[in-house]
Amino acid sequence: MKNKIIFLIKCIMVMLPFILISLYARMNMMGYTDEEAPYYLWNREVCQNKTGHSYDVLILGDSEANTAYLPEVLSDSCVNLSLGGTTPMENYYTLKEYLKYNDAPKAVFISFMDFHFQTSDCYWIRTMYSHRYSACDNWEMLQEARRHDESSIWSESAYLDWISYELFLPDKYIASLSNGGFNQRLEGNTGTRYFYDIHDGRYIDRTVKEAPIIVDYHSFFVNPLFDDYYRKLLALCAENGIHVHLVKLPLPASDTFSEEYVQGFEQYFEAVKEAFPGVTVDWWDSYEDRLFTDSCHLNIHGALRFTRELKEKYSEDFNNTYSGHQLAGMDDYFSIENHLDELINWLDACPDYAAVVCDTVGDFPDRYERDYKRPNVALTDCAFSDRAAGIYVLEDTADRAAFDQIFPDGDELISIYPGDGTCYNWNPYGIHGVNVLVINTSSGEIVCEKKFLYINDEFVLQG
């Protein structure tokens, strides 16, 4: 017997690298996973209230929902818990977990693209890989997928794969470990995680890619597994007195919907409304194609428009003041903005921002009146002498006095006192176009400077 035990120990010793790699994979996920996994971990931490926040409004859904809803524009008590690639199945467990650790929210907005009512494309490679849910929840999902014979999740090797993922075995993680190197992704993932924090969960595609794909929708159907979970999700909301808004998000205006599709959609959601009477169902109007990055994901400009419309429509669910946390998210959006008209849209969306504009072309006020005028933004001419001509302020119409510490200082220099006690010496005249300095009037900090060159009767971001 003693020999057999020694032999067993030797066998384990030979397999030591296997065990050590699994342990490393388990203990240092931020060090090697790609940049989506930290978001899943962040999502879990928020649900488990490790961040110390509870929210009045939750957003649930897939990547379509993740790109469309901007929590920082909606409310300080709103979080986007949607996860890219997920279906109603995963979202049911998200809400279940959230409710376990937090008070029930007042309202939940739920949006899925049609695809995720029909199949799961990321269950293994995202949900399981990132250990978003507990082993028991994953097991339950597999059992249900098996019961419904959902081939996009269930396969003959599903239990083995479940074991491999739960134990962090190298067959599932070695590719990431090799590509990630020893801890080489830690810094990047920590940085990425910061964005999840400041944007309250919106993490996909913060930039603009203008390549929409046009789709003809022929039929609408929901696979049994996802229908089952969708109803469980709604039942969970009903049990906890949560007001549910089911939103079919805007799609590109060029998309077409067949009669059969519209009928299928209406029939399904009529049945849902019958089963869950308090639920509202919204099929949002289509948007111009330019507001999408692909067939269904809104780009940041589309998301801003949708979020503002949503906030107006369901104003009772959101508040109108902006917290410092929200403004940090907005700061980031201002920083990455690359269109002048959209920059003004951001100013229009948030009263806590102002912009100093230096116009070297000479017709900005006319152009503003013609192309960029927004209801919540007023243009004020600083009316300086010739030496510092063409300086304007764009600010909230209701709070005109928020920003006025600005005056010329020496040759082509403008001194700006944004409010945080510092003086910013701005030299905006070096370009032919408009130079825009965005200031967060709440914190009194300068957010960013954007130089738009005047080329072929258009303003184009320099660089």
């Binding site: 020999n3 032999f7 397999m15 690298p17 083995l160 067959d171």
Partner: protein, 494 residues
């Protein structure tokens, strides 16, 4: 269930554990259940084929022995035996033909009819090739012929015989065992033996190393080139062909080694299927070292019955040609495989025809046949010949094989060896480096083996630190290859 699947890594320890815990009488029954489960994990229905082949050959063998024992008239007994043998052979070969060659035969019939202006338009059968069918049917037939010849006695215990045909480590890709070896080992139940189990596990580790680290890595490069062969030329194709030679060797050798190790863990010795084939100095020698269980099967049950070499030179060449053409056909229902077999047959005929000339030239130029350089040249020549034949084995069609062969002679891009061109064939720097290290280990082990060193014994004699460095090196390289794994063993299709 693949050897390189997680399923097997759970299945195997459970089988081993239960095997050694169960009392002696139940051990074979347990292995039989495990073997059928192993086979049914691919397609449960096809276990019926395995069972049919087993029952038919079992009954046939008993009948053959009974005829021999009871019939006092040798002439009549011989005639009756031949009838029984033919019937059982026909039944087994009919299964093989239907499931493996029917559509191929249909294709040939249609093409032939088309030549005469007749359109047959018969729909091909939608049949999935049962995994390992060529292996277990050949193993069962080998046993039957041995009984017919009186080389072995018929097995009366059906359970034991069924286990002989279906023994899971070698069921789906060999080695094709002989009754004299495997069946007799099943007579006695095995006890847990630490050195044997340790050896078995080490053999399995080496098998996994060959399959996962080398073969699967080579496969990436080979598949990249062969899937778009028209985009490549010259040295790129040569490199892909060389890598395929390595891939198929390590893939098949890997499987056989894992099979051998798994059997050894269970206390059963399987025959060696490879003996450093790429160190062969002639094609004939190559076939003594490559897929030994199949080549000896063809030698014993096809080549020798045809007359072997004890006949006129012309007949001998006919026998070689037929044996290798059939061997090619055994590998797959496609003209490519037949051609591959024919090429090997022709190689051997040419070698035999040219041997007097070679001997004369050697004497004339006073070449020392035992010198390293001469032997190295012969090894290289044999490898080139074998590698050319592999093109026909790997290519999807005759047209693509000929294109690859023709384009391989344009070596104007050999400079890719000196720049990063080699990394544009599907394998990145990291994987290429790992492959080079693994190949160095393979060649070292091969050289040691050729010098008569038993690598396993040698390793167990080394100090602990060195031993574990080797074990851990192998384990780490296998782990680093897991993202490439999941590929089937090439020989499963045969």
């Amino acid at each position: 269930m693949l050897f390189n699947s997680g399923e097997f890594l759970i299945f195997f320890p459970l089988v081993v554990l239960a095997y050694y815990v169960l009392p002696g009488k139940l051990k074979n029954s347990w292995l039989l259940i495990a073997s059928y489960y192993f086979y049914m994990s691919w397609n449960a229905e096809y276990a019926l084929l395995l069972l049919t082949s087993t029952l038919v050959t079992y009954a046939g063998a008993l009948l053959l022995e009974r005829i021999r024992q009871k019939d006092e008239d040798p002439g009549h007994a011989g005639h009756l035996s031949r009838v029984v043998l033919t019937a059982v052979l026909a039944a087994n070969l009919a299964i093989l033909f239907y499931f493996k060659y029917f559509n191929f035969a249909l294709d040939i019939a249609e093409n032939t009819a088309h030549l005469f202006g007749i359109e047959l338009n018969i729909q091909p059968f939608d049949i999935l090739l049962p995994v390992g069918i060529s292996f277990y049917i050949f193993q069962a037939l080998g046993y039957l012929i041995d009984v017919y010849r009186g080389d072995t006695r018929a097995e009366r215990n059906l359970l034991k015989y069924a286990l002989f045909v279906s023994f899971f480590p070698q069921l789906v890709a060999g080695p094709i065992e002989r009754s004299g070896n495997l069946l007799r080992q099943l007579d006695t139940p095995k006890k847990f033996d630490i050195p044997g189990v340790r050896d078995g596990l080490l053999i399995m580790l080496w098998g996994y190393f060959l399959k996962l680290v080398i073969a699967d890595r080579c496969a990436v490069l080979v598949n990249t080139v062969y899937d778009a062969y028209e985009d490549y030329r010259g040295f790129q194709l040569v490199l892909a062909n060389v890598f395929f030679a390595i891939q198929i060797y390590c893939d098949f050798m890997g499987y056989s080694t894992i099979a051998k190790g798994a059997a050894k863990v269970l206390g059963i010795r399987l025959m060696d299927n490879f003996e450093q084939p790429y160190f062969a100095e002639s094609v004939r020698e190559f076939w003594r070292r490559w897929h030994i269980s199949l080549s000896t099967w063809f030698r014993d049950y096809v080549y020798i019955p045809l007359g072997g070499s004890r006949c006129s030179r012309l007949k001998k060449y006919r026998n070689v040609f037929v044996t290798f053409a059939v061997s090619g056909l055994w590998h797959g229902a496609s003209m490519n495989f037949v051609l591959w077999g024919v090429i090997h047959g022709l190689y051997q005929i040419a070698e035999d025809l040219l041997s007097p000339v070679r001997a004369k030239l050697s004497a004339r130029f006073q070449v020392d046949d035992t010198s390293f350089s001469w032997r190295f040249f012969r090894i290289l020549k044999t490898f080139v010949l074998v590698d050319i034949a592999w093109i026909f084995f790997r290519a999807r069609s005759l047209h693509s094989a000929l294109y690859i062969l023709r384009s391989s002679f344009d070596l104007s891009n050999i400079g890719m060896l000196l720049n990063d061109g080699i990394y544009e064939l599907g394998l990145n720097t990291r994987n290429m480096n790992l492959l080079v290290i693994a190949l160095a280990a393979l060649v070292t082990a091969g050289c040691m083996r050729k010098r008569g060193v038993d690598v396993r014994k040698w390793l167990s004699g080394q100090n602990l630190a060195f031993r574990y460095m080797i074990y851990w090196g192998a384990v780490i390289m296998i782990i680093l290859s897991l993202d490439l794994s999941g590929m089937e063993f090439i020989y499963f299709q045969f």
